[in-house]
């Protein structure tokens, strides 16, 4: 057989986690329904904070549970030895994990980002001046997830993945607070039009850069591994 084994590994992982993914889809949908029902009934700021929490919680949990189950447990439960005894290289193993975990979380991320933007700007919850900041919030979530995914792939350890989750979950709000207080960002938050000034562009570009760099470093480290069991 000359075809790549990557789709087969992804299919195997998907079949093993599809019920869990489906449950998180249902929970996310339920949260969106709850948010819709709350819209206009509670103060805007409270609504937005509650809404973001309700959206991020199931999506983030799904992302972390999925990577724990497909990456960390693979090593912890010795099923990795079974997989690596098959015609699979470390590169293929790594790619299959990235190509399953990243798109699943990205799909959730796109949905919650879309919903948040719809409520924030489609329904006029916030002025358009807030667009750059809200973009940074959601990009921050994606960067944090990629950081946790990278740690899980490189170390395949419960402890390190949990520590990485804690660091990113605490670090992301802290970094967003700092951004919120940056004068060039803060100044335009209540503008009726969105302002993509150099500071906002640099921050967003840095977020993309950090996300891509973490993926590249992960790939590099994985391909350098001489022992994989």
């Amino acid at each position: 057989m000359s075809h790549s084994i990557i789709p087969l590994l992804m299919k195997k992982d998907f079949l093993m986690t599809q019920k869990m993914i489906f449950i998180f889809c249902v929970v996310t949908l339920a949260c969106i329904v709850i948010i819709s029902m709350l819209f206009g009934r509670i103060p805007n700021v409270v609504f937005f904070n509650l809404g973001i929490t309700l959206l991020i919680a199931p999506a983030g949990t799904c992302g972390i549970v999925l990577l724990m189950k497909t990456i960390v447990l693979e090593k912890q439960k010795s099923t990795q030895l079974f997989i690596m005894s098959l015609p699979v290289t470390v590169k293929e193993f790594t790619l299959s994990k990235l190509l399953l975990n990243l798109p699943v979380f990205t799909a959730f991320w796109l949905v919650i980002t879309g919903v948040a933007f719809y409520f924030a700007f489609g329904l006029g919850l916030f002025p358009y001046g807030t667009v750059p900041f809200i973009t940074m919030i959601f990009l921050g979530i994606l960067v944090a997830y990629i950081g946790i995914l990278s740690a899980a792939l490189i170390y395949q350890s419960y402890g390190i993945t949990v520590i990485a989750s804690l660091c990113f979950e605490m670090g992301t709000p802290a970094y967003l607070w700092i951004i919120a207080y940056l004068e060039p960002i803060n100044r335009h938050v209540y503008d009726p039009h969105m302002v993509w000034n150099p500071t906002a562009i640099i921050i967003v570009a840095t977020q993309f850069f950090v996300a891509c760099t973490m993926l590249l470093i992960t790939w590099h480290l994985q391909t350098q591994k001489r022992d994989f069991i």
Binding site: M1, L8, S85, L86
Partner: protein, 303 residues
């Protein structure tokens, strides 16, 4: 054209903080069975993982069925079935799930043979792995390795923790897999009886080193226990073949390696009376080897 060797390891070494595999040379032709015997921590699993391309040696080269490992592991692993004592299947899934998965990877998967093995091993393919006993799990893993009809089977302690009946089933099936004379097996075991039963070649490993590697007949023929009577309290001849000496009054038991008739003559010429010459079991040979290797290592450490 001759077939490439099943396994050809040359001078492989691997350094870990608390363990070192040193200058391991191992080879045997296709169609043969090699058993690796050694105590816990001797380096058997490390060798098998190097053979599988899962670990890269620091020094040395490994060829499996003619393919260089780990460089050509993709094509090599299409022809290898690997079962290890610490290998686990997915607990939340059924045997059928695993069979479908392996079948999707290997063109060589033999459905009929897989079903025969299910029946022979008394396994229910709809049963989830988490509900299975240790013996059933080993048999399921073995089924997944055998039904893809690999040219080489690599087993790391396949019979550890199995009851005698399951152990027999597993060994019988390993032997069945050898019906095609180009198929080969490399396996490790604590159980010298298993190794004695099915191996053509036997390799003893101790402290990260191969201490002896030969074909089984040479092994079994090469070791003897001589029961001697030392009436005149003569000194034993100074022979490098002597691996162990037990003395009790005038009675003396000497274990020798690389035995031939000239050795008994040397004892007789030294004034000792040979009352009995016995063959050793593989377990006794193994223990003799380990004790001798231990003594050598201790001597090296004190120098």
């Amino acid at each position: 054209m001759s077939l490439p060797l099943a396994i050809d390891c040359e001078n492989i070494s691997k350094h870990y903080p608390h363990f070192q595999l040193r200058d391991v040379n191992l080879s045997f032709e296709q169609g043969a069975v090699m058993g690796l015997v050694g105590p816990n921590g001797a380096g058997k699993s490390t060798i098998l993982r190097i053979v599988m391309g899962l670990i890269a040696p620091d020094i040395g080269s490994t060829k499996v069925l003619g393919y260089s490992m780990p460089k050509e592991q993709l094509v090599a692993k299409r022809n290898i079935g690997f079962v290890a004592e610490d290998m686990r299947l997915y607990e939340s899934e059924t045997i059928a799930f695993h069979m479908d998965f392996i079948k999707s990877i290997f063109d060589s998967w033999d459905d009929q043979y897989a079903n025969t093995l299910l029946h022979r091993f008394d396994l229910n393919k709809e049963q989830k792995v988490k509900g299975m006993s240790h013996g059933q799990r080993v048999k399921a893993t073995l089924l997944l390795a055998l039904a893809r009809r690999p040219k080489l089977l690599v087993f790391d302690e396949p019979t550890t923790g199995l009851d005698p009946s399951v152990r027999k089933e597993v060994l019988d099936e390993m032997m069945n897999a050898l019906q095609d004379e180009t198929h080969s097996i490399l396996f490790s075991s604590h159980n010298t009886l298993d190794v004695e039963q099915i191996s053509d070649y036997i390799t003893f490993i101790y402290g990260g080193r191969v201490i002896e590697s030969r074909n089984k007949e040479d092994f079994m023929d090469g070791w003897r226990r001589l029961r001697l009577t030392n009436i005149h309290n003569k000194a034993l001849p100074n022979l490098s073949n002597i691996k162990d000496v037990q003395e009790s009054g005038r009675l003396c038991t000497v274990t020798v390696n690389n035995y031939d008739d000239s050795i008994s003559e040397k004892f007789t010429n030294a004034g000792l009376q040979i009352s009995h010459i016995e063959r050793l079991t593989l377990e006794e040979i193994f223990l003799g080897n380990v004790m001798s290797a231990k003594a050598t290592q201790n001597k090296e450490a004190t120098l």
